[in-house]
Amino acid sequence: MRAGGEDFEFEPADLVRAYIITKGRELPDEQQLSLITLVTATPEEGRRLNRLTPEEQRLLDICSAGYLSVAEVAGHTRLPLGVVRIVLASLTESGHLMTRPPVPRARNADKELLEEVLNGLHRKFG
């Protein structure tokens, strides 16, 4: 964890590197790959047989043993969130990943979710 400051300067070299990793692609749809969208690798049958970039392979590997949120993938790989989003979008497009976006907010769904959250907190912390 970074000590002290909460923001810092991002070097141009990093930006160029980020651009290369993402092949200059556009940012993916924000809802589909939100911070808390859960992602996991698909079974191999459904995948397009394209060659993966090293970064794609690395992220796919991390997603192969279960579900992680987009934010967690970024946290574990220490790649900038924007880069992770783009690489994950590419992997989703080629059938390597599936995503579980959070449910859209709606009053009824909210109430049920909040009840579940509250009960869960009680179970966990008494």
Partner: protein, 203 residues
């Protein structure tokens, strides 16, 4: 710094790192916000089931900077680190807590964070109340419901709470709880207060 790949993930992640029952989970998030050094990271660390992680929000700014690189070189872009933690609450709901600093200039990040959040817990240091004004403004601007968790309470808590409500111009209904962010039970109680309030508002 920060964005260079570490060997951390090469060893692979332990089973604990993954979301249990991921195939059935709905992910929700709550923001833990406040000014610098108010205790956000500490709070998340106290109750998260995973070692708190940190990530950087950069890409929108990076994309602009990439365009700039065609012309002007040597431009730097400011980015911001977010801390977050996770609480698996059942086989249906997994809660993420995002620690979000109060700087108003990170508009893109705030939009990302606020979108779809259930609500926000605003950590407040009564010795530095004015530092909390911008954060509270932002949370209200994004239309998020919130509760206030006060980190240190000296003297008479009741009088202190009244003064604090007045200083922060809080609605009567807005919950105010004291909280030691270093303590798991105390942090969990503050979070529970917020969720109960959110549930009241949703009913």
């Amino acid at each position: 710094m920060g964005s260079t790949a570490s060997s951390g993930d090469r060893r692979g992640l332990t089973t604990d790192a993954y979301v249990a029952d991921g195939a059935t989970q709905t992910a929700v998030k709550i923001l833990v916000v406040g000014h610098f050094a108010v205790g956000k990271t500490t709070f998340i660390g106290s109750i998260s089931e995973i070692e708190p992680l940190s990530t950087e929000e950069t890409m929108t700014q990076a994309a602009e900077a990439v365009d700039d690189l065609k012309g002007v070189r040597g431009k730097t872009t400011t980015t911001v680190a977010l801390d977050f933690g996770r609480l698996t609450l059942s086989d249906r709901v997994v809660l993420y807590l995002f620690g979000t600093p109060g700087q108003t200039r990170f508009v893109q990040m705030w939009e990302d964070m606020a979108r779809g959040a259930l609500g926000a817990l605003i950590l407040v240091d009564p010795e530095r109340l004015a530092d909390s004004f911008p954060v509270i403004d932002l949370i209200e601007q994004y239309g998020l419901d919130y509760a206030i968790a006060v980190n240190h309470f000296d003297g008479n808590p009741e009088r202190a709470e009244r003064a604090l409500r007045e200083a922060l111009d809080l609605l009567d209904e807005t919950p105010v709880v004291t909280c030691d962010a270093r303590n798991e039970q105390s942090s969990a109680a503050a979070l529970t207060t917020l969720v109960r309030y959110l549930l009241d508002r949703a009913s």
